[in-house]
Symmetry: C2
Subunit: 529 residues, 2 copies
Amino acid sequence: MPSEYLEPSAPIARQGNERATLIARRVGIDTYRENVAYLRRDCPVYRAEGFQALSKVEVSTPDHGRSILAVVNVVDDARLIGERELGLSEEAFADLGIEDGAPVAIAHAEVPPSMQTLKRKIGGERLTRDELGAIVRDIARHRYSKIELAAFVVATNQFELDRDEVLYLTEAMVEVGRKLDWDEKPVVDKHCIGGLPGNRTSMLVVPIVAAHGMLIPKTSSRAITSPAGTADTMECLARVDLPFERMREIVRAHRGCLAWGGRAALSPADDVLISVERPLSIDSPGQMVASILSKKIAAGSTHLVLDIPLGPTAKVRHMDDAQRLKKLFEYVARHVGMMLDVVITDGRQPVGRGIGPALEARDVLQVLNNDPNAPMDLRNKALRLAGRVLEFDRDVRGGDGFAVARDILDSGRALAKMNAIVDAQGRAAELPPLARLTHTVRAPTEGHVTAIDCETMARIARLAGAPKVKGAGVDLLKKLGDRVQRGEPLYRIYADTAAELTFACDAAARAGGFTIGEPAPIAHGYVEF
Amino acid sequence: MPSEYLEPSAPIARQGNERATLIARRVGIDTYRENVAYLRRDCPVYRAEGFQALSKVEVSTPDHGRSILAVVNVVDDARLIGERELGLSEEAFADLGIEDGAPVAIAHAEVPPSMQTLKRKIGGERLTRDELGAIVRDIARHRYSKIELAAFVVATNQFELDRDEVLYLTEAMVEVGRKLDWDEKPVVDKHCIGGLPGNRTSMLVVPIVAAHGMLIPKTSSRAITSPAGTADTMECLARVDLPFERMREIVRAHRGCLAWGGRAALSPADDVLISVERPLSIDSPGQMVASILSKKIAAGSTHLVLDIPLGPTAKVRHMDDAQRLKKLFEYVARHVGMMLDVVITDGRQPVGRGIGPALEARDVLQVLNNDPNAPMDLRNKALRLAGRVLEFDRDVRGGDGFAVARDILDSGRALAKMNAIVDAQGRAAELPPLARLTHTVRAPTEGHVTAIDCETMARIARLAGAPKVKGAGVDLLKKLGDRVQRGEPLYRIYADTAAELTFACDAAARAGGFTIGEPAPIAHGYVEF
């Protein structure tokens, strides 16, 4: 059937497209935010081999006119999908707005134009506001495959985005997400760049600041690579998955909340990027600033206290780097109109004693209850950060914040406020119990605790099952500077299953996490007074 | 069951591991050389959520002691695997040396130590021979996920490896593969860096050089992103998938062969890297040199003529870049002890007329048969390259190679040699017919053909079904400099199915591939004489 003198856009093209539909089938494989289309190798409509090498396809709905990009995985397995079916993930169905069984067509995807821009960034060029905007839009729309995302993360990591590019990236990330509006100002917030286990100061700062009367509608993340996020720990006490309207009511009534921010889709591009930053464990300054500030802007915050812990096993390990990061945060914050107060804190060891949701919740409650056994480092750090937030209030004199915060905590007003917030969000029936299997790691020799490795302790807690198992994790029985005898307990691992206790114990055996030696003066660079 | 005072390496650990086995199940999903382990979300043995965020697991066989690294995909779908099963790909089964139904255990994977080195490369550091060796070994053993491979490709692209690093990378790639030994020297070869459709000179150079008596055991690849590789085109005439022992017999008898090199696993690390370089379309000089030279060394070649086509839509687009690339090839070749002659050739348009296996085979046969209609550009280019190979023979005077090659071709000795090689490899029953659906693209206006876009023509041929459909592709009816009338045919698309003809016609409609205009002198930089 030779078709001479057809114009390239002739009917045969469209005719072919109409014929070539497949039946969309839900495939229950979690591909972590990468759109994957499963196509049978023996598909009679499309030649799977032709797609294999070109690697991305456009999946479209003939009826609705919507389309997505997806990576093709060729399937030889009749159990998964039929030969006239196209397997798609839950997310792909949502993006396409179709139901299982709907007809879909596929075509070779044009490379998103922003990929050319990314190539130029890989080549070391500086990008404009519009160019970064286009990349971020394509990322948020799932148009990048995982390897393209990895290329973006490495390319923007390596040549360190300049500060204007970080600003553009931040603005672009805000633009593709939703923005919360609290109908009043200032809206204050407190955030830590992460990396320090047990650092649950938000659960103290929020009730203190809200008790003072400032608006602090805190949205937190769940743990991504850490053994507990604030949302995971708060969930031991109350419901955290709240619709925005419910959050607004709670905040109106109590001036604060401690909710999970995941439902609000505040920074969809960031959610996608995290899926590759995490396994690469790349967290460059530019990406960190854009990620954090875009989420804060989207959450409606106008005033932010930012905690940068500094220590040999923290995210930031040298005072120079901490200062550079501080200035980058300040530059971008000023240009997006956010009031920012950066605090560099002691990040030489985990904060408090517990690592893992239930153990950290216990520490927080001890502080709120003014329990004499409460971990003093958690209390003091929370008071310091709360004090800095309170000083955003024009009626609080510079330097008085700490004392005001301490009064609120000591008087029980913070505890009362926390109880009110917990009740409003929906109090948990009971505190989750600690996990049933334990293993105690003891000092191999006598001496002083001279170092506690934050990464190792986080990894052990995580392997033990935290944050999924609320009661799993690590309880620190000694901290920096403590004197220990040989055989004295250093920390205790809590796990729910034999496999998890094994994973955690194996990690502890490889790298104990504690260093026992002669007491030495603290390197000055790690502590800011 | 608290277990006080257990040493971290205590029995509970091993006991836990023994209990925690799953049944390995073949999953027929082609993940393109990435090891993926499919784990049910409701798996009663391992908590899938715990693995999700840590992303890579070590899968091991309790019986054999072998292990692989794999990325976990969490499965909610009971059709694919059972809750006590672990789904693995064909390749993973091979690597583990087990059969379907064997017990496997999983554990959180330690990050391969070479990942730390890669991080340093991302940070811009220079790597040593040992460091690059460790990375390449881990890549060849499938220990890197796709996103980690992408990070490597971008990191070594961006900061352009220095020439010693390229040398180390080349050596490392040779080391992890197999090396063929032909028991005599010199072993000559000819290679093109690619990117030029229709460039099937190897199928002419091999019979000419073999007819002269030099040893030229050519192993070629199948097309990766192009519409035809030499192996795909040769397959129109003869069997190309030959065991090494059979290749050796053929080469002993006929001095040459044209076989597919894929079975020999000459450069397993390169095979893995290509899986991400291709979709990123990154082909940096350092990676290209290491990839090509490592494969040639592994194939046992001692003398190589390398073709670098230069043109506005070829891989190399400026003479400066061509010269830099030439010097990098020469530097590495000298240090690995290979004789190398680099030829920069005219790459302004496709070579010959056909693009696609059967169409290109037709061109080659016309040249071998001294058909007056044979494409002269293909003939001349092949003679030039063959001449350069012949000049590796000490008995051929410098400059005489072209004439010697022409005599071999004109006398019919090249055709006779090709027939002998085809018979030895196993002659195909018949030449594959051209595909049944055609579409002719015509000149939209009168004028001269002033440009033919190599990338566009390759893409159209590929969308039409080449190389999978041997008879699919594009037949060029006009070439650079030809005068055309409005409506006169420029090229014809051949496809086998309506969907493929549609894909190709749509691409042709978007970017015709031909530019018609006023004849202009050729930019001098594109042609070396």
